[in-house]
Amino acid sequence: MRIDKIDVITGALYLLGGIAFASASLRYGLGTSVHIGAGYFPMLVGIGLSLVGLVILLNAIRSGEPQSFPRFPLRPLVAVAGGVATFGLLINSFGFFPSVVGLLTVSSFATPENSIKNIIVLISVLLPITYFVFIFILKMPIPFIVVAG
């Protein structure tokens, strides 16, 4: 049996997601046939999604071309997501400067070609440029640095 692993995962995700979505939407009421409730449309969408997922799943198991299990290289994933999250964490409590530094530092781990020197150059070039464009010209209300809590 040739299983298309990618499609199996996709189909399963759609199927489960659709069922979950449809059941969750029941909470919002289906309404009457003339005045449809808030849950009606989401329920239709959820049912549709599950059906599509079922089709994909069955196809994948029956006649899919065998594909290798998808690889998820962790390094770029963690570096980028981590960098963005760092920005989000720091910006409200600590201001523009720390969050930019945090983002650039954490995300630099995505590729081994980045050295400390690279990071410092990036920070010294990007920090003034973005500060100038976004905070000075576009007047975004973001403090440069928040010292006292």
């Binding site: 990618i6 499609d7 996709t10 995700l13 759609y14 997601g17 659709g18 969750a24 919002y28 009457t32 046939s33 003339v34 005045h35 449809i36 409730g37 808030a38 849950g39 449309f41 989401p42 969408v45 959820g46 549709g48 999604l49 599509v52 997922g53 089709v55 994909i56 196809n59 998808p70 690889r71 998820f72 770029p76 994933l77 570096a79 980028v80 997501a81 960098g83 963005v84 999250a85 920005f87 989000g88 910006i91 409200n92 930019v100 983002l103 995300s107 630099s108 995505a110 590729t111 070609e113 980045n114 690279n118 990036l122 990007l126 973005t130 976004f134 576009l138 007047k139 975004m140 973001i142």
Partner: protein, 500 residues
Amino acid sequence: MELIQNLELGFQTALTIENLLYCLLGCTLGTAIGVLPGLGPVATISMLLPVTFGLDPTAALIMLAGIYYGSAYGGSTTAILVNLPGETSSVITVLDGYQMARNGRAGVAIATAAIGSFFAGCAGTLVVAAFAAPMADLAFRFGPVEYFSLMVLGLVAAISLSSGSIPKSMGMVLFGIALGTVGIDLSTGAQRFAFGIPYLWDGIDFIVIAVGLFAFGEVIASLEANEKRETYTERMGQLMPNREDVLRMTPPILRGTIVGSLVGVLPGAGLTIASFLSYGIEKRVSKFRHTLGRGAIEGVAGPEAANNAAAQTAFIPTLTLGIPGSATMALMLGAMIMHDIQPGPHVMTKNPELFWGLIVSMWIGNVILIILNLPMVGIWVRLLKIPYNILYPSILLFCCIGAFSVRYSSFDVFLAAAFGLMGYALRTLKCELAPLVLGFILGPLLEGNLRRSIVLSQGDYSIFIREPISAVFISVAVLLLLISIVPSFARTRREALAEE
């Protein structure tokens, strides 16, 4: 004639210093990202959407549009010099363009691409101007029933014409619609799928999804794939085509323009399909078809004209009907909604300066672009030398600031990061992202029209088939679906859309 008056208004609007500057900015940015592989118009427009918040809506749209059709110009430069498509739409230009570069005719190839793109761009703009009013007239007769069916048709067409498996794209559309239901439902006041998180009460912001899925997701994907490129930046040869070149490039440019104009209007059919079709046509019709693949000028002129014509006419359904045909058009719609402009036929009557100003600026943009792309080619070529590990942190930074600036809330940034992960996961699972964005934008509209139609018909679902216009839309949609699923056509479709 009314068209003349409208064009006059358009020129008045487009030729203000502010709008000219934004047009220039958009075209320059568009060319730059077109040249740079790995950064596309979708990611860039997503990145810049929050920046356009404070701008005048006309200026914002002019700039974003400039980025869009500008990228169609820039991508060919990279395709010709580096054997790598700068944009997916330049994939076909790589074939003959790079060969021309290897034969020492890179300059002529670039010039051909620019000339073909300019002609097609101008022609496309004329088509938009000519067809806008009649289409809007038609759309005025549409009620919620017709709009619902038209949107269904649009989504089905987008699914059928996108590459990748049909069921998966269907799932992506539904998933996008599902994401669109998060937040408060305006008709019933119910708070849906917010899971107690106050930040979700207003729904997921469009910018957050766009930035996360397209910009972050693309960065992660690009970081994962590391490519070495062989660049022909040294010998460009002369820029100007000789007489024989001009004679040879004219028929494919004309053919490409026609093909592109038609294809661009279809939802789901993007610039890439237009250029593919043009190449296919050249292979069958051109006198010099035996030289295609080895540096034939037809292989550059036709596809480049096609993708630029398509870039212009793609605005027709978006501006007149409010139905986006591609992810980029969905982003444009998102930008309009952000500025409180209700897309659809009413834009022409309520905001005529915006509408006609945008159309005229598309023509001006083409003029700017041919200036940018011909004499200034050397600058863009130098841009290709920026290593990606400097580029991507800049992209991340702009996107983070952008996502944060929507509501000055960290939650949006985290959400964007989550969408980035999701975007990457979906790419690995070979699911198309464009249908998701289309579903997200059209979902609430779909639901609203469904609700109104049901009220109109007192609960009778057959209204969608009883009303003649709606019946036509639904039948075409069903036909499209069947054609795509039936095995023999499915194979042809897969082959035709394979490279996208």
